[in-house]
């Protein structure tokens, strides 16, 4: 397939075909090399404007997108909500229309409410890239996780992947579950019952299992993905204390030994050392957390390249 991605927007993994996903990953593969050159720049998006519209705090993802845009020679602008007109009471649609009047080519948006990127896509002429909408999706995170897995395991099909932690509030978990099952992996999720709804297994058609204990999920896994305890999203008491959480669900070397000998550990960051993941595990050679960040820039370069590709919607 010589033109893998013909959409204007990347709103989520849910509606992508496995061919599109593989197309994005293959493109990202070939962008990696640029990030280790002396001159980390190609002229491809020269003259294009990319706006990072972040209604939620994020240094890591925003920096990753900003670098991706700049390395493609695009002009990148960052808007963070604390300094924007939203605090003055402007509606989302008005914000979008005002930005559109400045003719951006791409808007990368992160918001605490699900569906915001989809709303923007209806209103704006720019390509919209979802950098995280509420607990719904975080497509570029799932893509960079998949790239990390592919890099170390050679494939995704047939792998057993454990996702552990606050599944309820996690857009990272949802996007990953969609992507991994579409590409033929089997996913097992585990966490406190308050954070892993029983009917979660119905999120996708198949290959998703809800486990009662972290040990059941990790046993025999090829990949162990640890989610951050999102203290800022906890509006009620989901578990007694952080210490309780780390005793029952924290990833330690002992628990990791239940997985396959060559299992790899992923974490979307930033991590709470000693809570959801022990320092030993985080700093071990099986942890690919820093690789994830490295591939993140390549994946975001690929996404910006494909989304601003000039394809009409549905071409």
């Amino acid at each position: 397939m010589d033109k893998p991605f013909r959409r204007r927007d990347l709103l989520g993994i849910r509606n992508l075909s496995s061919e599109e996903i593989i197309g994005i990953l293959n493109t990202a593969e070939n962008f990696r090399e640029i990030n280790s050159r002396e001159i980390k720049k190609v002229p491809t998006l020269r003259g294009k404007t990319v706006i990072n519209l972040f209604f939620e705090n994020s240094t890591r993802t925003r920096t990753s997108f900003e670098l991706a845009a700049k390395r493609l020679s695009a002009d990148a602008v960052n808007i963070s909500v604390s300094s924007s007109s939203v605090t003055k009471g402007e509606t989302l649609v008005d914000t979008a229309l005002n930005l559109d009047a400045m003719q951006p080519d791409c808007i990368v948006v992160r918001h605490s409410s699900a569906g915001v990127p989809h709303q923007l896509a209806k209103v704006s002429k720019a390509a919209i890239v979802n950098a995280g909408d509420g607990a719904n999706e975080h497509p570029t995170q799932a893509l960079l996780d998949a790239m990390t897995i592919r890099e170390h395991k050679g494939k995704i099909e047939g792998l057993e992947v454990a996702i552990v932690g606050d599944i309820l509030h996690s857009r990272v978990a949802r996007s990953n579950i969609h992507l991994l099952t579409k590409l033929g992996a089997r996913v097992r999720v585990a966490g406190p019952k308050t954070l892993v709804p029983a009917d979660f297994a119905h999120l996708v058609e198949k290959d998703l299992e809800v486990c009662a204990h972290i040990e059941d999920a990790i046993k025999g896994a090829d990949v162990v993905m640890i989610l951050r305890i999102q203290k800022e999203r906890m509006d009620s008491a989901y578990f007694p204390t952080l210490r309780e959480y780390s005793i029952h669900y924290g990833l330690t070397n002992e628990r990791l030994d239940l997985a396959r000998k060559d299992a790899i550990v992923l974490h979307p960051g930033p991590m709470n050392r000693g809570i959801e993941i022990s320092s030993d595990v985080a700093d071990s050679s099986r942890s690919l957390i820093l690789d994830q960040v490295k591939y993140g820039v390549a994946v975001r370069m690929a996404v910006l390249y494909l989304a601003t590709g000039g394809a009409a919607i549905g071409e």
Partner: protein
Amino acid sequence: MADEYGLVQKSKIMDAARMKRALSRLASEIVEENHGAKDLYIVGIRRRGVPLAEKIVARIEQLEGEKPLYGIIDITLYRDDLSTVGANPIVNRTELNQDIENKRIILIDDVLYTGRTIRAALDQLMDFGRPNRVQLAVLIDRGKEHRELPIQADYIGKTVPTKKSEIIKVMLKEYDDEESVWIYEKSAE
């Protein structure tokens, strides 16, 4: 009978044997002009420049007993027409693993037509460093009248005058059923 691109096969201008002799001559000319294989860096332009470059590298090794440096570039990201081609085309890997600083680069491509691919290749090379000299070898040159930029080939397999409605296809065993060079014409419908 037009194919899926609306092209009709017209005539064969080179068969496998003629291609082999032309590449052999190009390799000889390259080492003659550059006084041997020292500091030579053969760079194939994706896609079809790549197998041609590999054959030239092998021939130079036979002639000089020394293998020149070898690399591959994909110029997709440096094209000047991306905004006009619809959805962005797939990008393949660039592999320039050795430093190009002070080297004599020989770019290899299958067909020289408007020269825009070579312009993109030059811009890309400059982002990697400062070569001593860059030269161009092509199997087919479609003639100066089609050039849209002041670009020339230093080594040419065969010059073939063509019309704008024609296309030259270099077929290679890596991608096609045979090794040959054909002229195709865009069908009238």
